[in-house]
Amino acid sequence: MLLRHTPKEITERKSLTINPVKTCQPIGAMYAALGIHGCMPHSHGSQGCCAYHRSTLTRHYREPIMAATSSFTEGASVFGGQANLVQAIDNIFTTYDPDLIAVHTTCLSETIGDDVNQIVDKAHKDGKVPAGKYVIHCSTPSYVGSHVTGFSNMVKAMAVQFAQKTGKTNGKFNIVPGYVEPSDMTEIKDMVKTLGIDPILFPDTSGILNGPLTGKYAMYPKGGVSVKELKSTGDSLGSIGLGTLASADAVRALDTQFKVPCQVLDLPIGLLATDRFINTLRTAAGVCVPDAITQDRGRLLDVISDMQSYLYGKKVALAGDPDQLIPLTEFLVTIGMKPVHIVTGTPGKAFTARIKEITARFGDDINVKGPGDMFTLHQWIKNEPVDLLIANTYGKYIARDEDIPYVRFGFPILDRVGHAYFPTVGYRGGIRLLEKILGVLMDRQDRDALEESFELVM
């Protein structure tokens, strides 16, 4: 047993986190910054932060993840990181020639109180930022929120630090896709365009974190939202933010500062959340929904109805991020499953309230916790076993010990491929989620079947 020390009996823990379902802000900021074309993310802290974030993102995407660091030493930690950051800005533009640098802070630079805004000003005054190049920045203390918070902070920074209002509309909609995979970003763009709407999607990691092998390395691959597009977000007709925690701050800031009206929706995962997404876009832009989208919806419904018997009443345990877990739980309920244990590491009261609302039909016997950890989730499972576990890669240890069918979903996925290429958002993404869930459930039925009841046709 790999998690042999996890007892069934649950005791209260107030200070010790075991097997977290979250990580720290800066990695989210780095991921978001990679979704701008020609951008070099920069970590203002000690080297280790940047190395850890790059390693984790690299393992998750199997793609180059380039980012720089202020390489704090003890001296910089005592005297402040201004000299390091100004020098870094100079060196990055000279050596790596990006269009912009996106600086995020760390617990180190936050604790010593570095004022990044002032340091960037100084870099400009010292002539370290070449003409036509930019430095944007956001504050991402690791001791507040989670990686989702860091993503949100960087997305907000890229919007408000670039947006301009010329008074002339660009005829576009800002779409903030949330902390989702590059494949999901492509799918969201496709849906919006199919509706006849011209989007500015930011950030957009598609093409950057699922790039082709060509024999030529490009430090800044094709893809990403351009600085020009980001500047234009202040002239858009409206903004839609997907996922409250990851996207609301950015679209609300554009609303407040540039009077671009916004709506915040759940991530379009599953039937109903995608319905709301399409319906909102349709209403906001005043367009008709083309048949192609309605057909996709029908196909998802078709698969659900065909496979009901394998799904109905099956108990599910889930670990992940709130923006994903809310529509995912809703989807599981929609298809007849019973999510019984749901945990996120990201703090925020709204999460538990939403989950309880979605699972209200099951009464009060649902375990939901935010912030909680995977140790608690495992203990819940020991007390009330489930038929399916949906979690990131770390879920494999629970799945193995408890022998539970398991679908990898969320961040990070370090031991399988697919997430960068095949979306789980939208109606088509819903079919992929179903395929994955049915795959593991039916494999289990095959594995456990008696010889006489081993079915050819299922």
């Binding site: 990580t23 920069h42 199997r62 390489s71 060196n91 050596t95 024999g215």
Partner: protein, 543 residues
């Protein structure tokens, strides 16, 4: 990668090309860490090392915490390793290093699959985190009743002044188990190397010597600086056992608290990774009288040489004979496989930028299959790892090294027992078993090669474009950028998903892995047919 592969590039020109790109100040600094080898051997050349990375220059390096928690204590299975800090550091160092461990049964402690953190929040940063740390230790104790708990400090801990050592003492007194802390904040030192040192010092101070029971074995050694990545430690120990040699303790692959506690009862220390552990070998000699030798179990010939050194040390003819028999038995299949694979790898070129010893050790394996190492360098080594231990007295102690504690070691009055007399040591040295000796990487670098310390992203890209190596070895952060060039990239930190590569059976694994990577079909298909011949010369079939 398209274009002719060559290694007849002048390394001095490459150095110039690299430096030309940097701002003047950076160029001056980097110049000291880039050493072209223009004579037949790099012996005697200086390589600047263990100095600060320039901010903004994309580095391979990580931090002190990574070296302490991730590298040294990561592979110890029965200590509850508690990260005191915000969640990230604990999360990223959770199971990502492929240290394997093997317990005899489910009853034995193994906490390596768990991540323990105090998950500090803003109120802990403002009001101090000691209270939360104490409570977390209590909760860990109540849940697991471990024999030891260790505390790892992350950047903010040092800045806000939490005294993890005082908390450790207090909780040790209260709970009656071993509890110790590490001041391994990420900003200390200039790389992971500082963290190795801090980790090893604390293990030496708090654990080594706690258990005096002596293993019932004739030839007892410690294996220092072997981390059991991909199971290397397992097959090294199997081979040693086959020879009749027993391992008291490994620092720190597949290790336990009790092994550390007992390591002073061994009769010889063998050092694999010189960088991360040579000072522990020195301390064990000073305090307990155990001599140390440098060994290398990477490469079949190096393995044979290392086994012979160990056997010679014990001066026992039966052991010497048995070692020779084992070498003969193990070497035969290695040679057979090697000759077959060599045909496909001969003359190809490799670059190695990794670690504090592997960029040196793995050159053995490449040479065995006929390949040439055209450029190499370490990520976090010191000058002695390049130039040999004779330069240690010349190394300037700078501000960054000064704040890494050096322990003052005294002879242990009761337990100091020299394993050999000075005369015996001298005789052994004369017969070819040098003690406390390591010549470093430089003597093995050949003419035309380039040594680069703490290589940057821009520098590796330039080397790839100019030298066009057949294979490049580094870590996960470099892997896919290299492969986008169309050049296979082997991770030599984590071994990708491969290994073990140590000793004889591991050598075969490595030859086969390099054969697969160099000769895989995929690299031939980088161009689509329409890219290879874009002009439309044929007629349409349906015309």
């Amino acid at each position: 990668m398209t274009g002719k592969r060559t290694h007849t590039v002048n390394p001095e020109n490459i150095k110039k090309e690299i430096l030309a790109k940097y701002p003047a100040k950076v160029a001056r600094k980097r110049a000291k860490q880039i050493t072209p080898v223009t004579e037949d051997s790099g012996d005697g050349l200086q390589v600047g090392a263990n100095v600060r990375t320039v901010p903004g220059i994309i580095t391979q390096r990580g931090c002190c915490y990574a070296g302490c928690k991730g590298v040294i204590l990561g592979p110890t299975r029965d200590i509850v390793n508690l990260t005191h800090g915000p969640i990230g550091c604990g999360f990223y160092s959770w199971l990502t290093r492929r240290n394997q461990t093997r317990t005899a049964s489910d009853q034995e402690d193994n906490f390596m699959t768990y991540c323990f953190s105090t998950d500090m929040q803003d109120e802990d940063i403002v009001f101090g985190g000691e209270k939360k740390l104490k409570a977390a230790i209590q909760e860990a104790y109540d849940l697991f009743k471990p024999k030891a708990i260790s505390i790892f400090s992350t950047c903010p801990v040092g800045l806000i002044g939490d005294d993890v050592h005082a908390v450790a003492r207090e909780m040790q007194e209260k709970l009656g188990i071993s509890i110790f802390g590490f001041s391994c904040e990420g900003y200390r030192g200039v790389s992971q190397s500082a963290g190795h040192h801090i980790a090893n010092n604390q293990i030496f101070k708090h654990v080594v010597g706690l258990d005096d029971s002596v293993m019932d074995a004739k030839f007892k050694i410690n294996l220092l600086g072997e981390y059991n990545i991909g199971g290397d430690g397992f097959i090294i120990e199997e081979l040693l056992n086959k020879c009749g040699i027993d391992v008291v303790s490994t620092f720190s692959g597949n290790s336990t608290f009790d092994q550390f506690a007992n390591c002073h009862t061994a009769d010889l220390n063998t050092v694999m990774c010189h960088r991360s552990i040579n000072y522990v070998a020195d301390m064990l000699e000073e305090k307990y009288g155990i001599p140390w030798i440098k060994i290398n179990f990477i490469g079949a010939k190096a393995t044979a040489k290392s086994l012979r050194k160990i056997a010679a040390y014990f001066e026992d003819q039966a052991l010497i004979d048995r070692v020779e028999a084992v070498i003969a038995e193990e070497m035969a299949p290695v040679e057979a496989r090697r000759e077959e694979i060599k045909k496909r790898c001969q003359g190809k070129t490799a670059m190695l930028f990794v670690g504090g010893s592997r960029a040196h050790h793995y050159q053995e394996l490449f040479r065995e299959i006929g390949m040439t190492v055209i450029s190499a360098g370490y990520e976090f080594a010191h000058r002695d790892d390049y130039e040999g231990r004779h330069v240690i007295p010349d190394i300037k102690v700078d501000a960054d090294s000064r704040n890494i504690e050096e322990l003052e070691i005294q002879k242990d009055e009761k337990r100091y027992a020299p394993r050999k007399t000075p005369e015996q040591l001298k005789a052994l040295e004369e017969s070819g078993v040098p003690f406390k000796a390591y010549d470093g990487m430089m003597p093995e670098m050949t003419k035309g090669s380039l040594v680069v310390d703490d290589i940057s992203q821009f520098e590796s890209q330039t080397l790839i474009q100019m030298y066009k190596p057949d294979i490049f070895c580094a870590g996960i952060k470099e892997k896919y950028a290299v492969q986008k060039h169309g050049i296979p990239m082997k991770q030599l930190h984590s071994y990708d998903v491969g290994g073990p590569y140590a000793v004889f059976t591991g050598a075969i694994n490595f030859y086969e892995e390099i054969d697969r990577m160099l000769n895989a079909n995929i690299w031939q298909y980088l161009e689509a047919p329409w890219q290879a011949a874009p002009e439309l010369s044929a007629t349409y079939a349906w015309e």
